[in-house]
């Protein structure tokens, strides 16, 4: 995890490492990360800020925790051009994200999905949505509710009607 302990968020994030500009990202829970601009601009949202010259101070990444942001940065590092020598190796590395084996995987994918959506990272978004779609396939209504911890918010009458009319959906 590449955490930089810059507690003072008001200090300028416009530092450089060699000729590469570093951006300072701050997670929702206050963790601060310094990331190469060339990597962080895989996020369309951040790229827009850089292009508009709005990325000169610390960039707050709301709704994304430090834990998730560290995973996102790991994703960026792997997807930087030239970071991984071949496509196969990258796919193998990505495969840890594209299946959901248990509830902790599921929560990670949720966090990454929300982060990918907020930061607009097309590659990560694609991977996470595929993972969720795979998890949905073949599940009955009750299995899905259990898996995703969803409580039915249909009113009693509607739920009853769903149960009666669509038994096949529930029983699979």
């Amino acid at each position: 995890m590449s955490t930089a302990a810059t507690a003072d968020a008001s200090s300028s994030g416009d530092t450089t490492e060699g000729s590469v500009r570093l951006l300072t990202l701050q997670s929702e829970d206050g963790e601060v990360f310094e990331v190469k601009e060339t990597i962080a601009t895989q996020s369309v949202t951040i790229k827009g800020m850089v292009d508009d010259d709005c990325a000169t101070s610390t960039i707050p990444v709301c709704n994304v925790t430090g834990r998730t942001l560290a995973m996102v940065i790991e994703w960026w590092n792997k997807h930087e051009i030239g970071a991984v020598s071949n496509e196969k190796e990258l796919k193998e590395w990505e495969s840890q994200f594209d299946t959901i084996d248990d509830k902790s995987d599921r929560d990670d994918v949720y966090d990454l999905l929300m982060a990918a959506n907020y930061l607009n990272i097309p590659t990560l978004l694609d991977c996470c949505t595929s993972a969720v779609a795979e998890a949905i396939k073949g599940k009955s209504t009750d299995e899905m509710r259990e898996f995703f911890d969803i409580k039915s918010d249909f009113d009693e009458k509607e739920e009853d009607a769903l149960r009666k009319e669509n038994q096949w959906a529930f029983e699979n």
């Binding site: 949505t129 779609a133 249909f154």
Partner: protein, 268 residues
């Protein structure tokens, strides 16, 4: 860790996910999980076109217009019917052995009872069903075209009516029907357009008649508020049917040949 709440996923994310699920019965089941998932699942399922086999089996399929895949759907309601046929807005019309008529929604499996059809409905020859609006609308008109005793007729009713009203279509040999701008229209095999007046029967339009051949097949389609007439030349074995499309010029009262229907596709 942020609070994980799958019910509040943004709609566009759910849309991407459900599209990747692909199988309509899986997507359908997603729609039974919670209210927000239901609204997205319903939106996607509109990419599917209902196909029905006419061989008397309980065949009912969904054709995915995006992937061109075909998915089978099982409807136990169809086990007890004499025959069924597709109607508008994704509904089916079913007729059981006692001539009880129902509209059935194959996704929600909602059923709407229509009047008995004992006196006029025999074997389904040249049978077509269309509705003016979704059958859930109390003002909906269900129009059935059928052929019996060497005559074409239409029968119509609203859900909740006691009886069907039958109108004979004399001197008519029609092919297709459509509900367009508040009226039912029909085209005959010679390319003549009729308005079906529910009180008086057929009213012939003053549109100049197209010169069609005996083997041509005509269909009416509404695209972006325009009424289109698709003329397919008769079967040349093995080759696809050459099609010519005309658009109705509502004010000039004439058919205008169109070269392109833009980004639309028409399934006949």
């Amino acid at each position: 860790m942020t609070k994980v709440r799958w019910t509040v996923l943004p709609r566009d994310l759910l849309l991407i996910i459900f599209k990747k699920v692909e199988d309509p019965s899986d997507i359908y089941r997603c729609g039974t999980v919670c209210v927000s998932w239901k609204s997205v699942a319903t939106a996607i399922l509109s990419h599917f076109i209902l196909l029905i086999s006419y061989d008397g089996g309980s065949g009912c399929f969904l054709f995915n217009t995006k992937t061109k895949g075909i998915h089978n759907i099982t409807l136990p309601e169809l086990n007890h019917v004499q025959f069924f046929i597709s109607s508008s807005f994704g509904w089916l019309l079913t007729v059981d052995k006692q001539y009880k008529v129902c509209l059935l929604n194959p996704f929600t499996r909602e059923q709407i009872k229509l009047p008995l059809a004992r006196y006029w409905l025999r074997r389904p020859r040249c049978f077509r069903v269309i509705t003016s609006t979704s059958p859930l609308d109390p003002e909906c008109i269900v129009l059935v075209k059928y052929y019996s005793y060497n005559k074409h007729s239409v029968a119509y009713c609203r859900p909740g009516d006691w009886n069907w009203t039958v109108r004979k279509l004399s001197n008519w040999s029609g092919s297709d029907f459509i509900f367009y701008k508040g009226e039912f229209y029909s085209i005959d095999f010679y390319g003549k357009l009729f308005r079906i007046c529910l009180r008086r029967g057929l009213v012939e339009s003053s549109l100049p008649q197209l010169e069609l051949r005996d083997t041509d097949v005509t269909d009416l389609v509404e695209v972006e508020g325009n009424l289109l007439l698709v003329v397919r030349s008769g079967c040349i074995s093995g080759d696809p049917y050459p099609c010519v499309v005309y658009k109705l010029d509502w004010f000039e009262k004439q058919w205008i040949r169109v070269r392109s229907i833009g980004n639309y596709s028409i399934l006949l």
